[in-house]
């Protein structure tokens, strides 16, 4: 605190709080530019729209693309949720949630069903999303062909000509080397039979959920791209007739809530190789436990405790 500040100065300062920032941090012209990119992205599902990504008060790799998209989409009436690999309580998720609490004054929640805008890093929530919800992805490398072809000039031409043979070669080489398609996350998809798209590094378990009722927006800050999937857009994971796509997960139930249908994290719990499989979606797991579901590794319920 500035020592020259009187108590009333400080009260006034704290009252102002979010008014020290423009609503949702970004200036209006930047938001308009991002909003125009979002609309073009929705009009051309799966196509990466270039945008003039701004410096944000967090380093690249911490969700600057997702944050800019959220800032352009949020209204004062929204309820905002942030997850990082399914969890609401990691550093990245907590800091982004607080960022918009402070700069946009929006309500926040950890409950998937209560949120109107959800920003996510590397997961799709287990609960099915509704038409009135928006899912914003943080994307590190938006170009699905980038690791196969480093040149932007070339990959743009490949999208232009719908020349995606290289991606199929990559999946084929997976099969030749490993006997199966070994790509486990950021599994490429084809959108409405036209654009091959990187769904961001979500596990391929989540790929079938990409066809959903909610609006999906993808923001890549460092790479300066925005892309989008309107509700019910056709999204097909690339595969071969004899090696069909398979959404895989660890073959265990959740140790805490017993769910058999959710994506699991594997935790090493002792020095003897003991391990625990638990839901990656913390809200899903907590809600199930609150409803009385118990997994094999859940803490015992003590007598007399509710």
């Amino acid at each position: 605190m500035n020592p020259a500040m009187t108590q009333s100065d400080q009260d006034r300062h704290e009252e102002r709080g979010m008014n020290d920032y423009n609503f949702a941090y970004l200036d209006e012209q930047t938001k308009r530019m991002i909003r125009r990119a979002i609309l073009k992205g929705l009009a051309i599902p799966g196509y990466q729209v270039p945008f003039a990504s701004r410096e944000m008060p967090m380093p690249y790799g911490w969700g600057t693309g997702g944050v800019q998209v959220s800032a352009a989409v949020l209204t004062p009436e929204d309820t905002f949720k942030v997850i990082d690999q399914g969890a609401d309580d990691t550093t990245n998720a907590v800091s982004i949630r607080r960022f918009f609490q402070k700069t946009a004054g929006v309500a926040v929640t950890e409950a998937t069903t209560e949120a109107s805008v959800i920003q996510t890093r590397h997961r799709i929530p287990e609960a099915a999303l509704r038409e009135d919800q928006v899912l914003v992805y943080q994307v590190p490398i938006p170009e699905p062909l980038r690791f196969l072809e480093p040149s932007e000039v070339e990959t743009r031409k490949m999208h232009e000509l719908e020349e995606y043979g290289l991606m199929h070669v990559k999946l084929y080489e997976d099969i030749a080397q490993h006997g199966a398609i070994a790509t486990a996350y950021a599994y490429p998809v084809k959108v409405e039979g036209r654009y091959v798209m990187d769904p961001s590094p979500i596990p391929k378990f989540d790929n079938p959920k990409l066809e959903m009722a909610a609006i999906q927006l993808f923001g890549a800050g460092r790479e300066q791209r925005i892309y989008a999937l309107p509700p019910y857009t056709q999204v097909v994971s690339l595969d071969f007739e004899d090696y069909p796509f398979e959404a895989s997960k660890a073959d265990h139930p959740c140790g805490l809530c017993g769910a058999e249908d959710s994506y699991l994290d594997e935790l090493i719990v002792d020095d003897a190789g003991g391990r625990l499989f638990m839901c990656s979606d913390t809200d899903y797991c907590a809600a199930r436990q609150a409803a009385g579901h118990r997994g094999a590794d859940a803490a015992p319920v003590l007598e007399g405790m509710a």
């Binding site: 423009n22 949702a24 209006e28 308009r32 609309l39 009009a43 051309i44 196509y47 232009e160 009722a213």
Partner: protein, 186 residues
Amino acid sequence: MQTLSLTGGFRDAPKDAAFAFRAVMNAMAKPGEINRVTGAEPPAGLSIAAGVVLLTLCDPETPLYLAPGFDRPEVRDWITFHTGAPFAPANAAHFALGAWDDLPRGDFPLGTAAYPDRSATLIVEVDDLRSDGATLSGPGIKDSAALSLPDRMAFQQNAALFPRGLDFIFTCGDRLAALPRSTKVS
């Protein structure tokens, strides 16, 4: 410039624009869905919805084409004061405003095969906006949707250009709906 052109903008631009964009985004993501907007009081002859879309999306970076029916001093002054958007011929426009029959639809940028996003968005003022008429299907639509469109053939031809093509926002009073190039019209 008359003083009238200085009024009728957003009262609280960041918040009004946020609500307005959400409505426009919902419309573009769910073709055929009609959304209500508020916050703009544009000059007579211009709908509230068209005014809101201009205030929400246009600025000095977006050349705007005005169809002859809207190319009047009070409209120009209002748009210039509130958005700063430069006026441009159709072939250089990012946005266009006009009645359906008044827009030179063949002249607007359609985007390129490499950059299909570099295409115009047409704000079309219509007298009537209802959820019936042409049948819509495609991204954003669960099974099918319906929307009163001023034409069908033109939108079928536009959709055939995909991924290039124009995107449309229809405005009527305080309501708007959108039709992106991805929508199939029948």
